[in-house]
């Protein structure tokens, strides 16, 4: 019961504070799930985020639903998904009944634009954490090569991120187990940091 309440509170906060749509709530989810309640560690969070990016559909509810499921089964799943989306849907229905249009309402726009740098900072910190984790796992050189490769594919060649992650996952599965020499290389790379 206490777990369900924690799940509800965690994802209620994520839903109510995630300005800028689902992707903006990723650092908030991370703060609640890895930081505050410690339901999982960074690498599991990273796996979930990777898979959520590969599959279609809204990202916030996929994360909420899976984490809810992981913490306490199907009830946890339903609880977390509800908590992340019901409050704002409710607001939406209430507000559209009373306001005709919020386009161009000054203070609403002011609020949204002041929140963006805050979310940006949280996102940048999370970016650094993932980069740092990658460096610890595969060393500076491989991490930088991977990073540049992904950046070129995404921004210059406009390959869809879902495809890139799917290919990386596929490569990890299909690659043969490293022989001894390669293993030595990997260890060397890992020690550099």
């Amino acid at each position: 019961m206490k777990t369900q309440w924690h799940l509800f509170v965690a994802f209620f906060r994520v839903g109510m504070l995630g300005y800028g749509g689902g992707p903006a709530s990723i650092p908030l989810v991370h703060k609640e799930v890895v930081g505050k309640y410690q339901w999982m560690d960074d690498s599991e969070f990273g796996d979930i985020l990777a898979l959520a990016n590969t599959l279609p559909g809204p990202i916030a509810t996929k994360m909420a639903g899976y984490i809810g499921y992981r913490v306490s089964g199907w009830i946890g799943l339903i609880n977390a998904v509800m908590a992340v989306m019901i409050p704002t849907i409710f607001l939406m229905i209430v507000l559209l009944g009373s306001l005709t249009s919020v386009q161009g309402v000054g203070w609403v726009e002011g609020m949204t634009s002041a929140v963006m740098p805050v979310v940006g900072v949280m996102m940048a910190v999370l970016t650094w954490q993932f980069f740092n984790k990658a460096r610890k796992g595969m060393g500076w050189i491989q991490t930088i090569l991977f990073t540049i490769g992904v950046l070129v594919l995404l921004e210059l060649l406009h390959v869809h991120p879902g495809i890139i992650i799917a290919v990386l996952l596929g490569a990890a599965i299909l690659r043969k187990e490293p022989k001894n020499e390669e293993k030595k290389d990997a260890v060397k790379g890992g020690d550099e940091g």
């Binding site: 906060r13 839903g15 109510m16 504070l17 995630g18 300005y19 800028g20 749509g21 689902g22 709530s25 650092p27 990273g46 796996d47 990777a50 898979l51 959520a52 279609p56 559909g57 809204p58 990202i59 509810t61 996929k62 639903g65 998904v81 989306m85 019901i86 409050p87 849907i89 939406m92 919020v102 386009q103 203070w107 726009e109 002011g110 609020m111 949204t112 634009s113 002041a114 963006m116 740098p117 805050v118 940006g120 900072v121 949280m122 996102m123 940048a124 999370l126 970016t127 993932f130 980069f131 984790k133 990658a134 991490t143 991977f146 992904v150 890139i164 992650i165 990386l168 996952l169 990890a172």
Partner: protein
Amino acid sequence: MLYWKIFLAFFIPGVLGYGGGPASIPLVENEVVSRYGWMNVQEFSEVLALANALPGPIATKLAGYIGYEQGGILGAAVGVFATVAPSLIIMVFLLGLLYKYKDSPKVQRMTLYVRPAIAILLGLIAYRFFAESQAQIGWIQMLLIAGSSYLLIERMKVHPAFVILISLVYGGLFLG
């Protein structure tokens, strides 16, 4: 059958919308404006504007509101279910498999390989947030808010909820 239509109208964008909720907005518009004619472009843009101004995931807000408009509470439930359920069920299934084999070297390598890609994706989102807010409120305000929220969240360990609330008040009062 209305509820079947609502289901289809949100099932299709949910399954085809790669890249999270925001990517599915044009697909939702195509269904509710062009195919079913539930609203015109003007009405859709007003709904979208409010959805953007409110917190929380965009796609479910649209599905919930439009579903409610067409078919009441049940319509909202159907719309939201069609948006969320298909990809979430696949996700639970696939991660269940991953979790089962989490000690195998292949799965550990998967975790390792995707990390730089995740870092880049998050970094690009961060960049877009900074760029957009710089365009709206200028360099000085943007750096001021970013700098103070970094200090508060990372150095002084204030919960982000408070920092976001402070920034909302600040923006509403001074940046409107």
